[in-house]
């Protein structure tokens, strides 16, 4: 499996399971995956920084990301192993953490390779592979189970852990238990599963098309001729974003992305709106078409407005005003520019739009604004207003997993554990 995908999926594991209280199978069977997932999550928050002088700063940030101060040194050691950070010490004290997280590549490849080096157990390997599989469409549970060399007990433990974190869900479709990942579903899972049932052979390719070209126009040949995608749009599995510009209304499509907290969902909506407006300018502009979409988004992020306005801009970016991202203003007679409101959420939305444009997927969706603030703030404690507590949930596990936990505890109590 591609190390980049492994890196991404380990982060999914950590992000999803950090809100589940500690329980044996999660901590014991998935320890390497969670460790690299934590390292991935922290690395993505450190990106762009040059150094951190106060260790407490990183402790606060890590805490927001579900990494406690006891775990932090181990996570930092992993990041140091892959040369993403360098810890400078004065005696036993950490003097400074120099940051070297790559900016021109995703960095997940190194994280994925590190996970492989840690020799993950079979359960972890199956968990990562099946999560990746489910990102491309649902699959019948017996088929999923047959793909990995896990016995039924092991498969049950893996499923339980993944279901606790909502990485995996099972629904019966026409009598067949079908597994899907809520991370790969935008809206109603039932509609998604029915769609997958109607087009069992086309789902993977359809999702791939959208991931490769986020913000694809519905008038693009790849959509118009694709029955499965048209069906997904009609049944609400994929929800297009509409932009009404100077040459009429156009609809743009995005690969589904689920498993987000409500505030993350709002930011993703904003990112999709931003990217749709830029796609409109690329293909449906009345004047000069946008040649370098990434540059346009970077200018908007860095300068908070475009370098030069044009007459179509008001209608083309009107959607962004509706979504409270910013507002058009008249630069000169009949020449409009757009000013983005400089809020943390809007800047995050722009970064996500840039990543979707470049890589098809965005790790920044999971960027925690509280953690980012902690890293940038000279005083570490953010105050109750900005530090958002999350309720942890208790795991709901099957009888098989429960029996396994009890078996292990019994062995320990009897002194039968060989520690081998």
């Amino acid at each position: 499996m591609d190390p980049t995908l492994i890196g991404l999926r380990t982060q999914d594991f950590h992000e999803s399971l950090k809100v589940v209280t500690t329980f044996g199978p999660k901590e014991v069977k998935f320890k390497n995956t969670l460790l690299i997932g934590k390292a991935s999550s922290l690395a993505m928050h450190l990106r762009g920084l040059l150094y951190i002088e106060q260790y407490e700063q990183i402790e606060y940030a890590a805490a927001s990301l579900g990494i406690n101060s006891i775990e932090l040194p181990v996570v930092l050691r992993e990041l140091e192993t892959i040369d993403f950070i360098r810890i400078t010490k004065s005696g036993e004290q950490v003097k400074r953490i120099d940051v070297k997280v790559p900016e021109f590549r995703s960095g997940y490849s190194e994280l994925g390779k590190r996970w492989q080096d840690l020799r993950p157990n079979e359960l972890e390997q199956a968990g990562i592979a099946s999560l990746e599989h489910l990102h491309h469409g649902p699959v019948a549970v017996p088929v999923l189970q047959s793909q990995y060399s896990l016995n039924s007990n092991e498969f049950a433990i893996m499923s339980d852990v993944m279901m606790c974190g909502q990485l995996l869900a099972i629904q019966t479709v026409d009598g067949t238990p079908t597994a899907y990942s809520p991370l790969a579903v935008d809206g109603n899972p039932s509609a998604y599963l029915q769609w997958a049932k109607r087009f069992p052979n086309e789902v993977t390719a359809a999702i791939e098309t959208l991931t490769q070209s986020q913000g694809l126009s519905m008038s693009d040949g790849r959509i118009a001729s694709n029955k499965s995608l048209m069906d997904a749009i009609q049944t609400g599995v994929i929800m297009p974003v509409t932009v009404s510009g100077a040459t009429g209304a156009q609809r743009f499509l995005f690969a589904p992305r689920g498993g987000l907290a409500p505030e993350e969902k709002t930011i993703l909506d904003k990112s999709r709106a931003i990217l749709s407006c830029v796609r409109y300018g690329q293909s449906f502009s009345q004047g000069v078409a946008i040649k370098y979409p990434r540059r346009i988004l970077e200018v908007l992020r860095d300068n908070k407005q475009f370098n030069r306005g044009h007459p179509d801009l008001m209608s083309q970016y009107g959607l962004l005003a509706e979504k409270l991202i910013g507002h058009p203003f008249e630069e000169s007679t009949n020449r409009w520019n757009f000013r983005i409101d400089d809020t943390d959420e809007n800047m995050k939305a722009l970064n996500i739009a840039i990543e979707m444009l470049e890589y098809g997927t965005s790790s920044s969706v999971s960027i925690d604004l509280d953690a980012q603030k902690a890293l940038l703030s000279p005083s570490q404690y953010q105050g109750p207003a900005s530090t958002r507590p999350r309720m942890t949930s208790d795991p709901v596990v099957s009888e098989v997993t429960r029996a396994d936990i009890i078996r292990e505890l019994t062995k320990l109590t009897r002194g039968m554990n060989t520690h081998g």
Binding site: G48, L50, Y51, E53, D83, R86, T88, K89, S90, K95, R96, D98, K100, P102, E103, F104, R105, Y292, R294, R295, E298
Partner: protein, 361 residues
């Protein structure tokens, strides 16, 4: 072999301190040469050495280059020397050139500006050093003894009458590259050649050999210099696509890049090797370049910090690097200087432990 210290040295060191206080980095051993193609070999002809060279990058990555000619003897024709200095300034492409003497006659002081030069007498230099607090700042560069020690460690260190070993001959080529070729070739070629040059001796450089440690630090300084030159190119071409602009620079522009890519395509078609054009270390070097471009407050001063790191951490065994009255952002500069040094080791295959002295700065 011990080197003889020249009588102009006090003047040179004083000017070096003044330049340092003004943010300039002064590389060791700079000699201008010309290379002639003699069919199967290149013949080097020495033109002249530069007494003092100062290079500075500002926060917009603009480079300023100063050359200084120091003469303390009596039998010197100042006018001839000025004409010579003007030629050196033009040949080297320096922005400023200083002529430094214990005393300057009034007619020399008058004609120097007409030639785009500046002639300074020692008394003026003393005043300047005081006003700029250059002694205080320049202390970070070490004293006369430190400079002497550094010069003693520069070179392969053969004894008269004893033939150099194979290893020494290998290292000699690196010294020769740093002293002559580095200043002769086009700037964009310097990074690849520098890394190639050190790669060839990486296996014989020892952290326990004082000469090797100095050689590695000088290599790291030059690596930083190459990156700053690249940063200047990228900055002037726009920051929107740093990796693409970096490759354009290192491969000599769009035509150079295209030619090299096509050559590699052909090599791959032959099926002998399956190499990519970019050497494996280039990806992380471009990441480092990106960090420098995004942190100009520190990046502009990394050259001085690497020089001072050698004096402070290697010669004085300290665990800190301080430049009094430094502008910009010292921590940014230290972090980047360390990054550059360790990336240089990674790119060339030199053992990282050769830079152990700066591990805790």
């Amino acid at each position: 072999m011990a080197k003889t210290l020249d009588k102009d040295l006090p003047l040179k060191l004083q000017f070096r301190r003044i330049l340092f206080a003004e943010g300039y980095w002064s590389p060791l051993e700079v000699e201008l040469s010309n290379y002639e193609d003699l069919g199967n070999t290149l013949k080097r002809r020495s033109l002249t050495d530069l007494d003092v060279l100062g290079i500075k990058f500002d926060r917009l990555f603009n480079r300023t280059c100063v050359v200084g000619d120091c003469k303390s003897g009596k039998n010197v024709s100042d006018a001839n020397r000025l004409f010579w200095l003007r030629g050196v300034k033009d040949y080297f492409g320096a922005d400023l050139a200083y002529y430094l003497r214990p005393n300057i006659d009034s007619h020399i002081a008058a004609i120097a500006p007409k030639m785009g030069l500046c002639a300074l007498p020692a008394a003026h230099l003393d005043g300047l050093e005081l006003r700029l607090r250059a002694k205080e700042t320049g202390a970070a560069l070490g004293d006369f003894a430190d400079f002497e020690t550094t010069l003693q460690r520069w070179g392969i260190g053969t004894t008269k009458g004893v033939s150099p070993s194979q290893e020494q001959l290998q290292k000699k080529r690196v010294y020769s590259f740093l002293s002559y070729i580095y200043w002769y070739i086009e700037r964009f070629r310097a990074l690849m050649q520098l890394v190639g040059s050190f790669e060839s001796v990486a296996h014989v450089l020892s952290p326990d050999d004082d000469r090797d440690v100095l050689l590695a630090f000088v290599g790291a300084e030059r690596f930083a210099h190459c990156l700053l030159e690249a940063a200047a190119f990228i900055h002037s071409h726009g920051m929107q696509n740093i990796p693409a602009h970096a490759r354009l620079y290192f491969y000599g522009g769009p035509f150079g890049l295209r030619e090299k890519e096509r050559t590699f395509d052909l090599i791959r078609k032959l099926g002998v090797v399956n190499e990519e054009l970019d050497p494996p270390w280039l990806r992380d070097t471009i990441e480092l370049l990106g960090r420098m471009l995004h942190n100009p407050n520190g990046a502009c001063d990394v050259l001085r910090y690497i020089s001072v790191a050698y004096v402070s951490c290697v010669l004085h065994k300290k665990q800190e690097v301080v430049i009094p009255n430094a502008n910009g952002s010292p921590i940014e500069a230290i972090v980047l200087a360390k990054d550059i040094t360790l990336q240089f080791a990674k790119a060339t295959g030199i053992r990282e432990s050769i830079f152990d002295s700066i591990r805790s700065i």
